[in-house]
């Protein structure tokens, strides 16, 4: 599904401030993998995610999605394969557009935005049903501007938005970092539910070690731009919080 081959990325190359962010990184993710990525600040987690999404281009190496080389595709071109949920709920939604309009755009992620009106009754109804699953009562607020909702509500909605159109790869960049514990739990459950229901191939970057225990089929620890540990299957399932803490010691 996803393959990274020998990816290198250095920030400010050739200066005294040069920071190697990714170093000869190889990663292969079979279809349906729910991979959680952890690591300290500056370990290269975000660079990894942004390199896959196409907002950062590697200095060398190649990226393949479904055997197709996407290394030189820009972010808006890669959106055909990749859906993203950002750390900042404000980044993933348009505040001045209504909830419904936000959903409309997300539903067209892999398609052309044509000069035709797509906000029909049927789309409205489908959106309402989709949102009602969250159980937050937001289905009655679909004509409200997105900006009038709370960060947690927006983040839960952007999760739903990420799976509206054909999603081959879902990238989550600390989606709960900006949220209070209650909203955070909601977003976490929504994400997990969505990923399992649709068998989405997922990369979830987090600082929250409990997430690793509760969710995911694979865990990767990044350190200095490399993959330091990589556990899946049985080994991942038997991982304890204590052991995880020891990785950071």
């Amino acid at each position: 599904m996803l393959k990274l081959a020998n990816i290198n990325k250095t920030y400010h190359p050739g200066t005294q401030y040069a920071v190697p962010a990714l170093h000869q990184l190889d990663l292969e993710l079979p279809k349906g993998t729910f991979c959680i990525v952890i690591g300290g600040n500056g370990s290269g987690k975000s660079t990894l995610l942004n390199t896959i999404a196409g907002t950062i281009f590697p200095d060398s190496g190649d990226i393949y999605i479904n055997q197709q080389r996407v290394t030189s595709l820009k972010a808006f071109e890669r959106s055909k394969f990749v859906a993203r949920v950002f750390q900042n709920p404000h980044a993933g939604t348009a505040p001045n557009l209504s909830v419904l309009e936000n959903f409309r755009l997300a539903a067209l992620r892999t398609q052309k935005k044509k000069l035709s009106i797509g906000l029909g009754r049927s789309f409205e109804k489908a959106t309402q049903e989709n949102i009602a699953d969250l159980g937050l009562g937001l289905e009655n607020k679909i004509n409200q501007p997105m900006g009038t909702l709370s960060g947690g509500q927006r983040q839960a909605l952007s999760l739903l938005m990420s799976a509206l159109d054909d999603t081959q790869l879902l990238l989550l960049d600390e989606p709960t970092a900006a949220l209070d514990p209650k909203s955070s739990a909601l977003v976490m459950q929504t994400a997990n539910h969505l990923i399992e229901k649709k068998h989405l191939t997922t990369i979830w970057v987090t600082h929250h070690l409990k997430t690793v225990i509760d969710y995911g089929s694979r865990v990767i620890l990044m350190e200095q731009g490399k993959i330091k540990k990589d556990l899946e299957g049985e080994k991942k399932r038997h991982l304890t919080l204590q052991e995880l803490y020891s990785w950071f010691a």
Partner: protein, 287 residues
């Protein structure tokens, strides 16, 4: 009465530009100064084609294309060359001065002798009321078209681009292309205002565009303030408010003249008006 009716017609002529500024300023949050140049460009193209015998309706697509071209150059400079939007607009506006002078051939081209939109469509005796009804119809049509555009999937994508570029990029929208298209549409609308105005005032002048962007900004800001006052936020009403803002702006200027203010001070008054609309809410909220 005639005096204020003219002001209203003038405001309606400038509504197209107001809609353009609405797109650049309110939707894309780009301060687009190209306006000054593309407005005169629209008027110049209209004047020169009318005097060489073209019919007004055939001139419409030419004006729109000319304006769109000007806007797309600003868009290209801004998005492809990474030049600040304000500077990109100033560059194109300055360049357009020479282009407009070349098109006009001299600084002022009178249009008294030619048939035009208003003389061809005149259907009642009173010329001013005839003009009023014609521009009103034209404005309603434009507002409707812009409204429909903004409701389409493409239009939603446009609006989202000004709202959150991270989001639009992740949803397959080419932000650079979107902004360039937006600037093209906006300047086509502005050029169309030039088209209307040249035929209303019966001349095109190389200096007619100086500071016109402020008039457009003023219209959008007045419209926005009124919209907030009445708590109307639907896109359609926002566009209507732009038209009302454009008219209100011209009526205010007409009032200023009628109470005896020297017309030479008109630009200064325009600037102070716009400053007032932007600044007064800040002053009030601080006290």
């Amino acid at each position: 009465m005639i005096f204020y009716t003219s002001a209203i017609v003038l405001g309606l002529c400038l509504t197209a530009m107001g809609l353009g500024i609405f797109i650049t300023m309110r939707i894309f949050k780009i301060p687009d100064i190209t306006t000054d140049g593309s407005y005169t460009l629209g008027a110049s193209v209209t004047a020169i084609l009318l005097t060489t015998g073209w019919s007004w309706w055939a001139i419409i697509p030419i004006t729109l294309i000319a304006g769109a071209l000007a806007g797309s150059i600003t868009g290209w400079i801004h998005t492809r060359l990474g030049v600040d939007a304000l500077l990109a607009g100033i560059l194109v506006m300055t360049g357009l001065y020479s282009v407009n002078l070349t098109i006009l051939g001299r600084s002022n081209v009178p249009l008294n002798e030619t048939d035009n939109l208003f003389s061809s469509l005149k259907f009642i005796e009173n010329p001013l009321f005839s003009q009023l009804i014609i521009v009103m119809g034209v404005c309603l049509l434009l507002i409707f078209l812009v409204y429909v555009l903004l409701r389409t999937d493409f239009g939603i994508a446009m609006r989202a681009t000004g709202d959150s570029e991270t989001m639009t990029e992740s949803l397959g929208i080419n932000n650079a292309k979107m902004k360039t298209i937006g600037l093209s549409i906006a300047n086509a609308l502005t050029a169309f205002s030039g088209f209307l105005l040249a035929q209303f005032q019966l001349f095109a002048d190389i200096n007619m565009g100086i500071g016109i962007v402020l008039t457009g900004l003023g219209s959008v800001l007045i419209g926005n303030t009124l919209g907030n006052l009445f708590q109307h936020h639907s896109i359609f009403l926002q566009l209507i408010w732009v038209a009302i803002g454009a008219i209100a702006f011209q009526v205010l200027l007409a009032t200023a003249i009628s109470i005896g203010i020297n017309p030479n001070l008109l630009k200064l008054i325009t600037a102070v008006f716009v400053l007032g609309i932007v600044g007064i809410p800040k002053l009030i909220s601080k006290t």
